[in-house]
Symmetry: C2
Subunit: 322 residues, 2 copies
């Protein structure tokens, strides 16, 4: 199982990637108010046999327990931005989330070590209409291969790659491999039955896929097939028009709302003036845009991050699957 | 303008109801994370000419400013349950919301006094698919009449009556008349452009309606027409199945989700087991149910209140309109 790209990190993954998976962590509540993911993790924690597979150990964890109790995204700071190695190594960081990140690093890491879990699946929800999106590092071969299996089972599944970086701040980066399972649209604090059932089904299918891979690797002559996996690569992020105090001067336009992953056409209204009727801005392509798609449109948690929506481009990765 | 029912309170309203409206309060952010309503109130506060009408004064208020800043429903307790006269009169109540309720009572009340604002319009949002619902006391003649005007302008508008009570805890009850404008579905913290524009349009239409009523009353021989207004009357509330610790044992079933205000048929699955596949409960009518409709299905804020959905029955009220 490998990706046919040529960066140094991917060559290392290629050398290492035929190692069997021994430990998987399923995480919910990294954001405490993403209640559908929390409910799935809680179910698996209480029904461990459902997550048990013969060839590896599975652990289910609720990450930001204080935020879950408060039904908020976080208490002091966003836990899912606390996992850069530099931050984990800074013992002076005093927030509740910094402390919890260090605990989680001990539990499923330590990040970058031989002891780290082989695969981390982090369950999230979005208020945007982004559907089912698996978010992962561009050089994470195992996560791409598991994603390819899930896409083959459910054609609604999309794969998105984080921007290239030498380190990532998100929780799944603590594992040797790991991805975010981002499911929406669903409001903060709401358990949506349909999305709950879909999330649970996909998590169990991912565990099945890992077990099948272990079985394939244990065969006398392991057989892997090659597949082309469509992915979305983050291009840039677009903020709301704001005044000098940071207050919104415009809203996501109804013609953009809920159109996640639909190609964006030049001239499409993207922002509605606060007068409720005027177009405040239209999409004007930048020189290298080509076909771009918006996603995470009007995500509640991204107002404070300065993101009205993200833009991505389509690409293809070649994966070996079993 | 009057309601043709026969309770003592409604007879009093009838005697009093041909009084011109002198002061209207528009309120947003009674729940701090209902961001679409907050954004509309903020717009009107900054553009007071939009809310100005020649025959009365309009004041726009952000109610729970601490909760708006924190992007939470409330800080210590639900502000929209703090307006019972008994609670307002209890100076020992020490929560931030209790203090803010007393301030608001001075600003738009005092409740029950001659100085109280004539009409209070409180802007809310729901995560449920309840559409546009005006919620009001059953004996509030002016609110019913304004609602009838809004229904005539936008057939999506529904009118819901709070349960009969000698006093109401909600903010609009501080005015001589008042209603909640409840708009959804929209997630906590999200400003939805379409719902924002709809809310703003309806608030301005309500102000127009009040001005037209004042003009009609000022005529030498005021002319009022009679109209039949369909309303929904709350019947009872249904909680999630829970274990002995209060944890959810089931979720709103996908076959019920988003079916707000559709007649509920006996045998319809209403709860999904946490296994993600089994039906945990079906709707079984109670003897007097007749045709009932669910609403506020899977509202995020009602998990803690023990409400998975409410049930209502259709009724009709007769209003005089101008």
């Amino acid at each position: 199982m490998r990706l046919l790209t040529q960066t140094a990190s991917e060559k290392m993954l290629l050398l290492d990637s035929r190692r069997a998976v021994r430990r998987v962590a399923i995480v919910g509540g990294t954001h405490g108010n993403e209640a559908t993911g929390v409910a799935v993790a809680r179910y698996l924690a209480r029904h461990p046999t459902a997550a048990r597979r013969p060839s590896f150990e599975t652990m289910t964890i609720l990450a930001n327990t204080a935020a879950i109790a408060a039904n908020t995204r976080y208490v002091d700071e966003d836990l899912n931005r606390c996992f850069l190695s530099e931050l984990l190594g800074d013992a002076s960081r005093a927030s509740g989330e910094a402390a919890r990140a260090r605990e989680l690093d001990l539990l499923i890491g330590p990040k970058g070590s031989e002891q780290a879990h082989d695969l981390v699946i982090d369950l999230h929800n979005t208020t945007s209409n982004s559907g089912i999106a698996l978010m992962m590092a561009p050089d994470d071969a195992l996560s791409h291969a598991v994603a390819a299996k899930l896409v083959s089972l459910d054609s609604r599944v999309r794969v998105c790659e984080w921007a290239e970086a030498s380190d990532h701040a998100m929780l799944p980066s603590v594992g040797a491999s790991g991805f975010t399972l981002e499911v929406g649209p669903v409001a903060w604090g709401v358990v949506d039955g349909e999305l709950y059932a879909t999330t649970l089904r996909l998590v169990l299918a991912a565990l099945d896929a890992v077990h099948e891979r272990n079985a394939a690797l244990a065969a006398a002559s392991p057989r892997f097939d090659r597949t082309e996996l469509p992915v979305f690569r983050t291009l840039r992020r677009v903020d709301y028009p704001r005044d000098e105090c940071g207050e919104l001067q415009a809203l996501v336009h109804p013609k953009l709302q809920s159109r996640d992953f639909e190609p964006l056409v030049a001239g499409t209204p993207i922002f509605l003036d606060v007068d409720g009727t005027s177009v405040a801005a239209r999409y004007e392509p930048e020189p290298d845009d080509g076909e771009v798609v918006p996603f995470f449109i009007n995500e509640a948690a991204y107002y404070e991050k300065g993101i009205a929506f993200a833009l991505a481009k389509r690409a293809t990765r070649t994966c070996d699957v079993w």
